[in-house]
């Protein structure tokens, strides 16, 4: 009996002694959860899962993806905003989708102040593509047709209220075009509609379009980004092709953020881990294979990028309402 008392006391004392120490020194000492606000298999999920595969040595613990899909991302982003700010929950933000939710909906329970930027990971611009058998060889062919036949040219894209939808609106506004944008439930179905000639063109995220471009089934006409895409160097940018500036507001920017208020040294630890991850050759190689264009930015730059993306979204949001 005495022995057990002694043993119990030892356990209690050692627990009391080690716990605060572990709290102070041992971050992280349990897996870090990465909230993905979209369902498994999509662009957000893919990049998140790819990161979990390679980040463990830099983070010191495992990172676990948790899909919290629903309401176009609102549910997952809300969960991230309200999560404990102990550094054990991070999430993947997707701009401009998060701003579209914030601006188009009522009673959205989060704002950008609820997030602490950690690192920008990926940017995925939108491109305009046509079926490989289409008569449109250049972006000019396409715009000429649209000008002659205003409102009658069907263009598929992920929607509604999506970044693709926003890019379509920005393009129509800047180039005074009138296309008939048809919403599909994702870039995959939008590409299928193009393959089956149900529509004349499609606005697709570059990462989802790459396999179809590689297999020669669709032809990209223009990419909505300031610089040519690393995997599609011969495809002109929108300003080259149109001879005019078009805001590349639809580009999906995906980066890691935590709930606001995470202790500074923990933010620094996370930031360093993601920085090292993006220097890992195997990770970079795997991302390249998947058509994921990596654009690393540290927490400060990512924060600035988010702010400017928000301002751009605000400028074009009225076109979507």
């Amino acid at each position: 009996m005495k022995f057990y008392k002694k043993l119990l006391a030892t356990i209690v004392y050692s627990a009391a002694l080690t716990t605060p120490l572990a709290m102070a020194e041992g971050y992280p000492d349990k897996p870090v959860t990465m909230i993905v606000a979209y369902s498994p298999g999509g662009g957000n999920d893919t990049v998140a899962r790819l990161m979990t595969k390679y980040i463990e040595p830099y983070l010191g613990v495992r990172m676990v993806v948790e899909n919290s899909a629903g309401a176009g991302g609102q549910i997952g982003f809300t969960r991230l905003a309200k999560a404990d700010n102990d550094g054990y929950t991070v999430g993947l933000l997707s701009s401009p989708s998060i701003f579209l939710i914030e601006m188009l909906r009522k009673n959205v329970p989060f704002s950008m102040d609820d997030f602490q930027a950690i690192a920008n990971i990926q940017s995925d611009p939108i491109l305009l593509a046509v079926n490989a058998h289409s008569d449109y060889k250049t972006f000019k062919d396409f715009t000429t047709k649209v000008e002659n036949d205003a409102g009658a040219i069907n263009v598929s894209g992920d929607g509604p209220q999506s970044n693709v939808n926003l890019q379509a609106a920005a393009m129509e506004d800047a180039l005074s075009l009138d296309i008939n944008f048809i919403s599909y439930s994702g870039s995959g179905p939008a590409a299928t509609a193009l393959l089956g000639n149900e529509v004349e063109a499609a606005l697709l995220s570059t990462s989802s379009a790459l396999p179809f471009i590689e297999s020669g089934r669709i032809r990209p006409l223009v990419v909505f980004s300031p610089k040519p895409h690393a995997a599609l160097k011969s495809v002109p940018t929108i300003s080259e092709a149109a001879g005019k500036e078009v805001a590349t507001v639809g580009t999906a920017i995906r980066g890691v953020a935590a709930p606001a208020g995470v202790p500074e040294e923990r933010v620094a630890h996370l930031e360093k881990a993601f920085k090292k991850l993006l220097e890992n050759k195997e990770f970079v190689e795997a991302a390249k294979k998947l058509g994921i264009a990596l654009t690393y930015e540290d927490s400060k730059d990512f924060d600035a990028t988010l702010k400017s993306s928000r301002a751009d979204t605000e400028r074009y949001i009225k076109l979507m309402k």
Binding site: P40, G41, D45, T46, G70, I182, P189, E198, E214
Partner: protein, 502 residues
Amino acid sequence: MLDALSIGFLTALQPSMLLAACVGVTIGVFIGMLPGLTSTMGVALLIPVTFSFPPAVGLALLGGIYLASTFSGSISAILLNIPGTPSAVATCQDGYPMTRAGKAGRAVGLSVFASCIGGIFSAIVLLFMAPVLSELSLMLGAPEYFLLALFGVTIIASLSEGSMLKSMMGGVLGLIISLIGMHPLTGEMRLTMGLPSLYDGIPLVITLIGLYSIPEVVNILSEKSNSQKRENSQFSGAWSTLKDVLAQRLNVFRSCVIGTVIGIIPGAGQSIASFIAYDAAKRGSRTPEQFGKGSEEGLVAAETANNAVTGGSLVPLLTLGVPGNAVSAVLMGGLIIHGLSPGPILFQNSPDIAYGFIFSLLFSNLLFVPVGLLVAKYCVKVIYLPKEILAASILSLAVMGAYAIRGQVSDVGLMLAIGVLGYLLTFFSVSRAPMVLGLVLGTMAESNLSRALSLVRGDVGELLLQFVTRPFSLALVLLCVASVVMGYRKSRRSSLAAQDTT
């Protein structure tokens, strides 16, 4: 081609591949049985586990889960009247009445062999005809998807257990529930009461859990003693049902074709396939009056078709890189994470993986027969459990399942509310299957009708013209008309017969 096939065959025969398929099948059987854990979730949950595996081995594991969970949803459907996965709703119709009649073992046996044959048929189609079929599938667009959904609505009558009016009520209720959430084209929020958890509508799985589990809990608890159905249930004669399945040659073949074809069509899904096959079996049967009361033909049709979907849904994924349903979308994520991009390039660059995967699907279809029967043999004991324990277990599984789908506590409340509705429906003997069908078809019909109209810029006349000028549309229009006319004539004949007897 022959070279690639033999490489694939040998890849699939490697011990690591066979082991992965075995493990996948075993996990899949359990995932499918539990309401709330669907094939989609099972595959998604296991993807991270496959990170460290060679790609082909990882795919074999995921494929095993997909096939086995599609089948095993029927175990809980047959034993407890609770579909373990959405694809098993049509199975409840005749599987559960068989259990009540003391033929649980036979029902599970029929289900396992029917599923196996459906799965093998579709895997063979995937192996040899995938490129041709995927090109054909590209000829289908919004008008065809809409018409297919419409055809689905016409078979609601066929699901009626008794009153046609009540079955229509169920169908309409399902259609109304499908309207909740964001409009698929305009983004307008409807009937959401400002709750973000309703923005995407009520998830099908949560509806199923509420609709089937909760009334069952109430029923079990309100029974006076452990009723007759449980004393009678024996698990025997499962293995001998293989020849009975094979004897229904026409029914099995028809259901295989229906399942595979529906599987190829993106977004249609397993529950629609099994309902359509069930309806076709009923129309072709010599004893249609047995359907809904324990008809073996109905059970075999539904089970064959839902597993025939598995191969079909992989056709567009592997040949075009476009997933055919939710599970194959997750599988696509699994392929991508291993650095493989699905589509025609996959077969050129890594034939060992592509064909190895298809062959391992063939093996998995065979593997779930013994695993499924073994598991079912022990599961059948649940119906001997004291009613308090059984009811409590079902209730806790229902709550966990509803929470697990999206990780939201509010979904549990949603599930319970639907459960109350489900109990009221059973109380007034309104059959629930038409409601599920209405729910599934409503979303499909609405989004594709709006899309089809939007493609012709709102010109209704032009859309109607498309219905009769596009070849597949015309075929579907004729099917819809035939279905309605046949139903009408049948109901007139039976009312005439009723008059004669009086």
